[in-house]
Symmetry: C2
């Protein structure tokens, strides 16, 4: 064991990954999704020292190299604006699926990247630095555990209820990766075996019921309309529910019930301390959380399960960046791979 101190000093680190960074250096954090690409310089205490973002150039005709060039330019500009800081490493969250830890990524909403070797590209950009990539929802969960709603608790499920329903699982104080880096897929816990078909090919998954577009489609079927054009999102629906639209409110009850059932199952299996729920749909507030808690209380009857705290995520838009930074800043807890 070499002599580095602070949070970088635990198992699973290679000599290379320890070399150039010092405990006090910031991490370059990246959050890649179908809508935007964001990047930040994140200090060891989780503070975002610099931040920038661009819309993902997801136009038809953009190829894999074009997407990478846009990200590369974003990172160059961010680091230049931040005064070219010495970095402890690079952490990135990206939409799945991906191989892990190699991070050959095939984000559902970024068709130009199919098996794109993101980790290799970032390593080539930052030779000698540790580079760590994980699922974007896992990074949100890590961020909430490290510096957000789950801070100080050993057993935390972080959830993102948005276009999809994703998550990440921290147990015994450590990020759980599972056999292939895919642990945390709470969106595909079955909440109703005879329920609606899911995009995964299954049936009755939480995501099939509670994802924003699924809720919006259900609400449209019940007569809900949105004034502006375009595809309304879960956040739009949540906003209308807050304004008192009865169908939008019913959609939130539907989502809340499914979330409560899935969370009851998750805590019976994993004996959680805290579940942090974020994402656009969660912006409905009590209109979502009240039916969620009703369903949870109906199904989570074991004494150890009733103690669970279910809370809104605390970090907002930057949670994924802060979690990506934690893959390096607190690798002993959040990075089990090479």
């Amino acid at each position: 064991m070499t002599g580095t101190s602070g949070e970088n000093g635990a198992s699973g680190e290679t000599g290379l990954s320890r070399a150039p960074g010092e405990a006090g250096d910031p991490v370059l954090a990246i959050d890649i999704g179908g809508t935007k690409m964001a990047a930040a310089v994140v200090d060891p205490d989780g503070r975002v020292a610099a931040y920038d973002r661009i819309p993902t150039p997801n136009r038809p005709g953009t190829d894999a190299g074009g997407l990478w060039a846009a990200l590369d330019a974003l990172l160059d500009k961010l680091l230049a604006d931040a005064g070219a800081p010495r970095l402890a490493g690079v952490g990135a969250g990206c939409g799945g699926p991906m191989t892990w830890p190699a991070a050959e990524v095939s984000p559902i909403n970024m068709p130009a990247w199919r098996g794109f070797p993101l980790r290799d590209h970032l390593r080539a950009r930052h030779p000698g630095l540790p580079v760590r990539v994980h699922n974007d929802a896992v990074c949100v969960a890590v961020g909430e555990h490290w510096r957000g709603a789950g801070r100080g608790h050993g057993n935390v499920l972080g959830m993102v209820v948005s276009t999809g329903v994703g998550g990440g699982l921290v147990l015994g104080g450590r990020l759980i990766d599972g056999g292939t880096g895919n642990a945390g897929h709470i969106g595909h816990v079955v909440v109703d075996p005879g329920g609606p078909p899911c995009g995964c090919g299954g049936r009755g998954c939480l995501e099939a019921v509670a994802r924003g577009p699924g809720l919006a489609a259900w609400a449209r079927g019940q007569g809900w309309r949105r004034e502006q054009d375009g595809d309304p999102t879960g956040a739009d629906l949540a906003e209308d529910a807050r304004r008192g639209h009865p169908v939008a409110a019913a959609a939130m009850r539907r989502a809340g019930h499914a979330l409560g059932v899935a969370i009851a199952s998750a805590t019976h299996l994993c004996d959680l301390d805290v579940v942090a729920v974020g994402g656009g749909v969660s912006q409905a507030g009590p209109l979502l959380f009240d039916p969620l808690m009703d369903a949870f209380r109906l199904h989570a009857r074991m004494e150890f399960a009733r103690r669970l705290r279910i809370v809104p995520a605390a970090l907002g838009q930057t949670s994924g960046l802060i979690g990506a930074a934690a893959l390096v800043h607190a690798g002993e807890r959040y990075w089990s791979a090479d």
Copy 2:
């Protein structure tokens, strides 16, 4: 941020818990249930060097001290017969619920023990030795991971489908305890939110559908009768299913479907490598496992989930004893508490 945190650390071993035993010494292993109390001397390689058992003296009128005296005598006799070996420690599995790691036990099927301080009693019997107690189904799962069907895999769910449905969870090669030692309660994963009421007070739990007595009750409602007197068990039902009784076979399909849904949810959440299914109901063989796999394949559609291997438990009746021994023999993987 200091270098340590309040969360469960990696090894959590105290000096005391390592002290008197040598690496080569055996462990006294104990398995306590409502039907029998079993004990064994288990070598560091998992071999059962000596074994004995008694029926649990669960008669009305037996008090907490009477139960303890029976166990105490069993242990005295076993150790005398084995030549009074020097021990590395004591490991025990006991029916839940219990506080953990203090192991004040209140086994559902042993009404004379309510908050009985089992760990304290065992420590007083074996002063200076590490004494570790966990849920009996957790010990079965640990046994299957250490020396059984899950050996060599990092991410394993061990299940017992019997009078109840219990389990234990090993992720990243370590036993997952959760916040209160209750992780692994696969029996209370919700498989049908509108399903039958469960003994826990919830509804539609796996256990409500697939536990032996629940299946037998369902089968009796469909006209199934057993020749001998007494309450037929899940193992009886499994035996009749193998003999071709159509209602018994239908009950196994019912159980198999519920198991397949619960396992799909579990592997989506935890990205498992192996599920090992044991207990009396599992003795139905393909009559249970075929519908289980059908339901699993219907619901486990994510690519990482389809790789899961679902296999019968390998160790049989001694799995709980071998797992209890592993709490001491392989504490770095299976014991995170003090």
